[in-house]
Subunit: 250 residues, 2 copies
DNA sequence: TCCAAAATCAATCATAATCATTCATAAGCA
DNA sequence: TGCTTATGAATGATTATGATTGATTTTGGA
């Protein structure tokens, strides 16, 4: 393999994945570690990439902080904590379903180093997964303008073709008597079907959802575990009678 | 082997592979290393190639395909003209397929007042359609990082469920002999299937695609119409023998 | 928190591959 | 023949490569 070919290969891989590991390059290119190190330092001196411990990344692009609209910034800190905790359940190479939603969106940076294969029905999720260099599948279907979620027959049919090691869903309300609720029947159907194709399902909810009954659809998701933060002790007891509960520590 | 034959051979090999090793040439051409070195230095002085350690590459441009960001601004004015003209074929309430690509992306503002239902396999398209308030369906499937296109079994299966009044596709090359070409076989498969589910299909291409054979997959799309700009009159004649051609006026 | 193990790094060296140059031979042509 | 051109082999110089070393950084657990 010519030196230029290697350089080109590295840059193209970077374009695609935004980040590249030295060891991966060694495996793929049949060149020695030393040679690839030299390649990286050279490309760095040309400003084509930026070296980091273990590999390289695209230069300069660390500045962009994703601008969020009102809804997604609300309870952002809590959501990030929950997302990080939830992400710890993901194993290396898992096939993961991420529900459309702002909390699941926050999980992306925390799972990206586990080389997951992610299926989602959320448009913003797909964009973010793509930028994070994660192998991404999208269910497709009809796009709901307000939420950016794909629903309907198309989405349900697509879900039938997948099986997940682990599945993360958001909800709008949790109640000890009524269970999980979400306002849109179509989104509820997608959540339910995704859960039915997963070995293990987790529900993510910050404290604002607790003991709230969202106007509408009730979801029967008995064997899913619940991940919450800041729940009063007594409420917690009630929930624990019904399902597995994981609490995020502050 | 004659000197000229060798030169031609080297250049043709370069066109195909974008890069060539000296040792490979020695094996193939039965000429000595010295001779082939002389060939390379000579061709370099004529500007036909660029020597690198171990062989040669095509001059100037990098071999890496320009990424979405780079591509999207190139020929933007032409693309907008083509997009506006193409959009004029859309009728009120049509079901429309928009291929992933920068030219089809430009069509969105021009069709939005016609209340279409749009199906696409492009991630950036879905985002833009959503923002434009257009009823949007996405095929889903595996996401190709570089182009933002959904491909593979998931995308093809989803397409089976739709039927389009009108279908717009982009290509990478048009040639009177070779027809339409595009570098990625998976994207080609999606285009083909979309066309087969449409009453009418249009191919969009700016002049930079004309008489170019993209390295790879040839698509058989005989009954599609071609929309182009700035094509020489004689080339136009050749195309018109094969297919319907619409030319964008300046 | 701290420490130890593991991974990664930069620097160095010897080897291997490639290079430009030179020279001698062979072929084509008047 | 005499002249030019193309070729292949040989030389030492240059460049790229892979292995090794010890230093540095990260990671995981006490």
């Amino acid at each position: 393999m010519l030196t230029n070919e290697r350089h080109d290969y590295i840059l193209r891989m970077l374009e695609e994945k935004k980040t590249v590991k030295l060891q991966d390059l060694v495996e793929v290119t049949d060149a020695s570690e030393s040679t690839l190190r030299r390649d990286l330092t050279e490309l760095e001196s040309m400003g084509k990439l930026e070296r980091v411990f273990g590999g390289a990344v695209l230069p300069g692009r660390n500045l962009q902080e994703p601008s969020m609209d009102d809804k997604s910034t609300r309870n952002l800190k809590e959501k990030k904590s929950i997302a990080e905790y939830a992400a710890s359940f993901v194993q290396e190479g898992d096939s993961v379903f991420l529900d459309a939603g702002t909390t699941t969106l926050q999980m992306i940076p925390f799972i990206k180093d586990k080389n997951p294969v992610v299926v989602t029905n959320g448009l913003p999720l797909a964009v973010a997964l793509n930028e994070a260099g994660i192998t991404t599948y999208l269910t497709g279907g009809m796009l709901k303008p307000r939420t950016g979620a794909f629903v309907g027959a198309g989405a349900l049919a697509a879900l039938g073709a997948y099986h997940f090691d682990i599945c993360f869903l958001g909800v709008n309300g949790i109640h000890a008597d009524y269970g999980y609720t979400t306002p849109d029947p179509e989104e509820a159907a997608v959540k339910k079907k995704a859960a039915s194709h997963a070995r293990k399902t987790y529900i993510l909810a910050d404290h604002s959802k607790v003991n709230k009954v969202s106007f509408a659809t009730i979801m029967d998701l008995q064997d899913a575990a619940l991940i919450v933060d800041g729940v009063p002790a007594e409420t917690l007891q009630e929930y624990k009678k019904i399902t597995t509960v994981k609490v995020v520590e502050k």
